[in-house]
Amino acid sequence: MKVGLFIPCYINQLYPQVAIASLELLEKLGVDVYYPQGQTCCGQPLGNSGYEDDSKGICQLFVEHFKTFDYIVGPSGSCIYHVKHHFDILEQTPEVQKVRNNAYELCEFIVKILGKTDLGASFPYKVGLHKSCHGLRGLKLGSCSEVQGEHYSTEEDLLNKVSGLQLMSLNRKDECCGFGGTFAVFEEAISSKMGKDRVQDHLDSEVEVLTGADHSCLMHLEGIVNRNKQPLKVMHIAEILNSTL
């Protein structure tokens, strides 16, 4: 099984430790991982802002870089969602279809494709899980609180197997963090208020480390935590799953 590791642009630039943890974790699990040099942004910011047509070149480039792999795995629900659901703007060649069908968010790949939940990690902290909208409602990584049915959560399945980790229950289990990419720019007041409220829920729930599978949400929340000097550490779920503390 050949896996192409997709590292979203903002993780590459701002959070290299998340990329390193993703690579180490996959290799630890015995996966044959490749990092295609020259990979760029998936085109999501353009698409979300209404410039889908202008993003076709970037989307096509993504396909060129990843078309030879059995699976494309990335530590970001929203970017993977973009590849899977918004690459419909490209001509649907067999290569485009292959890339769309085989793109997986990291947690989903580990649980669904590798069939593993106990990764041998240990992390002795109280952890709060932020469920990103793209991951939850887009990729269906878990059940939504407003929908009737059995509870499930891909990220919880993994975190519950981490030795020493205590997963804390939040008051609002799947409320948006307010980031929303360019939404944070165009709707600054609401975006920061939503982030502030999300952080407060974690603090009220005695969380020590806030985590999630979408680092763009975490970037927004970490910015608020840092600005307000709040006692909360923010880490990507790959860092926790790769941890042996």
Partner: protein
């Protein structure tokens, strides 16, 4: 003014934003608890949506069937292609009855058509009789929510408003006192009204009757006391048969407030002896919306308001920030579809 600008203004008072957010989240949680007790809830929602899809694909036939059956029952049926025609038709009915005083139960359609200012300019008194609607009417504001029109107002603000307009005593924001005073005030308006206007929640094609859902019984009181009843409905309010009503009544109140059913589900099938009943069927952009594949599903909406209660943006920006008659998530889909030029100017949050 853009949504972002209005949202920024709303966020100046953080304590009020927190209060607004919590009040609506409370309603969302009530909805979850109540809905999740119904076995097959998601199936019920799908069934409701499928019935609406059928209605929209056969709308012309159902509307004609509805009209024929309503006429058979002695109801006058009118067709309005836009807001202006709707308002003109309503005014003509009022003139015929020489009506100067009108009571109106909750109707987002008449808000959409700006009926109140139209009639008021002709010297007609229009009183909104739903308590929340009456509060925003006294405050000279539009509703900020389709089910909870005055949800942006605190008890303190209502206290001050009632002192000014209803002559109440300062009540230390006592809700029981405020409600009982509103009741006395509205009772007087009901008794003196010439004509009652209501909205319509559902219109049944095979009976020609309409159903109006309220918690306050204000639609019934208005209709039963006045000499004529005008029910105003959008063309999408049709359901095929009375048996389909159970699906929607089970969905509506649970989704809206977490109640199993609204206190009153009133069936108006024909005029009372010696009185008149009119139904005004309004298009006002709905046919065009129906023709747009991307917007068509917005006509499935039963106006429960659940999308507003669950929306983290709505809860923190208030209904007025949207600048549409119908705010929130559904308003952001429904309203701009009626004016795509305005949409192009608005970078809007969904």
């Amino acid at each position: 003014m853009s949504h972002a600008t209005k949202a920024t203004a709303f966020n100046k008072d953080e304590a009020k934003v927190n209060w607004h957010d919590k009040a609506l989240w409370y309603v969302r949680e009530k909805r979850d608890k109540s809905a999740h007790k119904v076995q097959g809830w998601e199936h019920l929602r799908q069934l409701g949506s499928s019935i609406k899809a059928n209605v929209l694909s056969n709308l012309d036939d159902y509307l004609i069937q509805f009209e024929a059956n309503a006429k058979k029952n002695g109801i006058h049926v009118h067709w309005a292609s836009n807001a202006e025609e709707h308002n003109t038709i309503v005014n003509a009915i009022l003139e015929k009855h020489n009506a100067k005083k009108v009571v109106k139960s909750k109707s987002m359609l008449t808000e959409e058509c700006h009926l109140n200012p139209f009639l008021e300019a002709k010297g007609i008194e229009v009183i909104d009789t739903d308590l929340g609607e009456r509060i925003v009417q006294l405050a000279e504001e539009p509703p900020s929510h389709i089910v909870l029109p005055a949800i942006h107002k605190t008890k303190e603000e209502v206290d001050v408003l009632f002192q000014k307009h209803l002559g109440t005593k300062p009540s230390q924001r006592n809700p029981e006192y405020l409600v009982s005073e509103a009741r006395k005030h509205l009772r007087d308006k009901f008794i003196k009204a010439d004509v009652a206007i209501t909205g319509v929640n559902f219109a049944v094609a095979d009976t020609g009757g309409v159903i109006v859902c309220t918690n306050e019984g204000n639609a019934d009181m208005g209709v039963h006391l006045a000499k004529a009843h005008i029910a105003c409905m959008g063309i999408e309010k049709i359901i095929p048969q009375e048996k389909h009503l159970g699906v929607f009544l089970r969905l509506l109140a649970r989704s809206a407030t977490g109640q199993p059913i609204t206190t009153y589900s009133s069936h108006f099938n024909k005029p009372e002896n010696g009185k008149e009943m009119h139904i005004v069927i309004v298009d006002n952009g709905r046919t065009e919306q129906l023709s747009r594949p991307d917007f068509r599903a917005s006509l499935h909406c039963i106006r429960c308001g659940a999308c507003m209660n669950t929306c983290p943006i709505y809860r923190r920006s208030g209904g007025h920030s949207y600048d549409y008659t119908i705010p929130g998530p559904i308003g952001s889909i429904f309203s701009p579809g009626k004016d795509l030029k305005k949409l192009a100017k608005n970078h809007l949050a969904m």
